[in-house]
Amino acid sequence: MASESHAHSVRGTWVTIRPRWGRFSYRFDKRVPLVALGIVIFTLVTLVVSISYGEYDIPPLEVVRTIFNVNQDHADYANYRLVVHTFRLPRITLAFLVGMTLAVSGAIMQGITRNPLADPYLLGVSGGASLAAVTVIVWLRITTAGLLPWAAFAGALITAGAIYGLAWKRGSSTPIRLILIGIALESVIGAVTTVMLLFGNINDVQQAYVWLTGSVYGRNWEHVQVLGAWLIVFMPMATLMGRELNTMGLGDDAAKGLGQRVERQRGLLMVVSVALAAGAVAVAGTIGFVGLVAPHVTRRLVGPSHEGLLPVSALFGGALLVLADLIGRWAIAPSELPVGVVTAMIGAPYFIYLLYRNRNR
């Protein structure tokens, strides 16, 4: 990955924001605003299409008017309002937020471990959340929605904390120790989860499978609010730490030489990444692929500098999940594919195309 980033930075041209007041500077590739705008437009179009499509079709124009509540004199307004504001808009908004969250979390994780295989779940977030969720669904057999997100959230944070703690020795947790201990602890947790899935009631197990795949089915504004609040705290933090990630990408020694307090920054970034992933997992289950792939694709689009990479991969991840959700609802209608299945189904071919196009890099 390191060699790749050098190749980019030579060619890139930059926009730098450095106001006279304060010690603040923010530098990003000049492709960033354009790409971001493109993704936003794409997302908005997909959002409208997605809301208009369903068992109860709504014309796209009416969708827009219903969102802004300007068609109250329309004959079907009551229905429109119910379908748009209560059913479809919240789940689609949630899909977007979850995609954002996972993408940023993955980009940070790849940055701090300098490992292209890293994803938001590297530190045991998915393992811990899965174990907690499967315990709730299969073992405790509690089906009311209230407990599940909190259990998953707690499971994710506890596991990540345990991995970080176990990797901690003499004032540091090196990436390699984190990775090895992560592998080990995840295996144990995975093993316990497997046992529950093996011996549980098959109906519960199937329900657990849907959760494990990740889904935004039936989510409401409450989920959006909770994750939204979470994002407002951690997303700006992540973006502002982009330059620290750039420095860290040079390697621990170089980063220290440049005056970075590597250990502290890495710990902080890890907290941000894990917190983001845990939030996403709590509301939507362990959706795979987005957090791994969105940063890679975005790096191709806007280069490797994290100040641009983090916000753009957030948008890309969100867009991917909105599109995946639409396809999941459409593909085998009236039944529905969980969004976690679709992310890989549509994301993978695109990524393979990218791999092909960049085969000589």
Binding site: R177, I181, G288, P338, R359
Partner: protein, 347 residues
């Protein structure tokens, strides 16, 4: 990425510090393995004395019930465990060397996802295929998926670079798995039939199944040993290997073929068993360093021991029911591995 495996080698001291300890260490390993195999055969629903085990192996009496159990049930099972463990560990070691990524195992080549998809499709379409058909489907699925991954990863100039290979593998695995998941979520009956297979198990594996698959895996093990020097070189980095005059393209193709034979055979015999392929190579490197001429045989022996012991646990812990061997392996092996990682990784 390459930094990380190097970090392991640079910042750890080998447990078997002196080269003169390597061969005796391996011999000890083999003795432990054989002992473990015999111990495993004595344990089960009916405990059988070591004398009887010895008699059944070398002095087979077809009228003895215990001899029959040993020859038709326990021996095939324990041998399957040994070869599966050895194969997965060696395949994992090669993949970690080839991609220079400590998170890699044979799963990176799409072997598990390909096999799982083929088997799930088989069960979904055919209803109730026999175990031998599971094996064939798994092997075909594993072979096709890994071929595809390799082709994708090897496109373009520079061939199969670690980054391209790793990405191609992860992407394609995720792609294939998404279809598997779609089937399992949609069809409860298939999920119910398949959930034991997907956890990985050695239960009910007979001699016919073993003799059908073992030759490929033994050939794979021999091949792994044969190319171990080249893997050592390539694990230092592609540029280094080329600088030393190695034809890296060929080595990588050969290595991939070996991995498919090993891990494809293993998944067809026992389903997608995790942990051993990922963790054993790390443990071995802590012991013997990064010379693959030693990493390969040590991985084979240690992988065999781990699966054999874990399978005893799998059969005994919740008698008369069974736990999946991968589960026992993780629960027993992980604490040890965590301790090892804390102790050995200095920086």
């Amino acid at each position: 990425m390459s930094v990380q495996t190097k970090v392991v080698s640079r910042n750890t001291t080998r447990i078997l510090g002196s080269r003169s300890l390597l061969l005796p260490g391996l011999v000890v390993g083999v003795v432990v393995l054989v002992g473990g195999v015999l111990w495993s055969i004595t344990l089960g629903a009916a405990d059988i004395t070591p004398d009887t085990v010895y008699a059944a192996l070398f002095n087979f009496d077809s009228t003895s019930f215990q001899h029959l159990i040993i020859q038709t049930v326990r021996l095939p099972r324990v041998l399957t465990g040994v070869i599966v463990g050895a194969s997965l560990a060696v395949a994992g070691a090669i993949m970690q060397g080839l991609t220079r990524n400590p998170l890699a195992d044979s799963g990176i080549l799409g072997i598990n996802s390909g096999a799982s998809f083929a088997v799930v499709m088989g069960v979904f379409l055919l209803g109730n295929p026999p175990l031998s058909l599971y094996a064939i489907l798994a092997f075909i699925g594993a072979g096709l998926a890994s071929g595809l991954v390799y082709m994708l990863g090897a496109m373009g100039r520079g061939g199969a670079t670690p980054l391209k290979l790793t990405l191609a593998g992860v992407i394609l695995s995720a792609f294939i798995s998404s279809f598997t998941t779609a089937i399992l979520i949609g069809d409860q009956e298939t999920l119910d039939k398949i959930r034991f297979w997907t956890a990985g198990s050695l239960a009910g594996r007979d001699m016919a199944l073993l003799t059908q698959t073992a030759p490929y895996m033994l050939a794979g093990l021999a091949g792994a040993f044969f190319i171990s020097r080249q893997i050592t070189t390539i694990s230092l980095g592609e540029d280094v290997a080329k600088g030393l005059g190695q034809q890296t393209g060929w080595v990588k193709v050969l290595a991939a073929v070996v991995v498919v034979m090993l891990a494809g055979g293993a998944v067809s015999l026992a389903g997608p068993i995790g942990f051993v392929g990922l963790v054993v190579p790390h443990v071995v490197r802590f012991m013997v360093g990064v010379d693959y001429r030693w990493v390969v045989p040590y991985s084979a022996v240690l992988g065999g021991i781990l699966v054999t012991v874990a399978d005893v646990g799998a059969r005994v812990i919740i008698r008369p029911q069974e736990l999946p061997v991968g589960v026992v392996m993780a629960i027993v092996g992980a604490p040890f591995f965590i301790w090892l990682a804390r102790w050995k990784v200095k920086r």
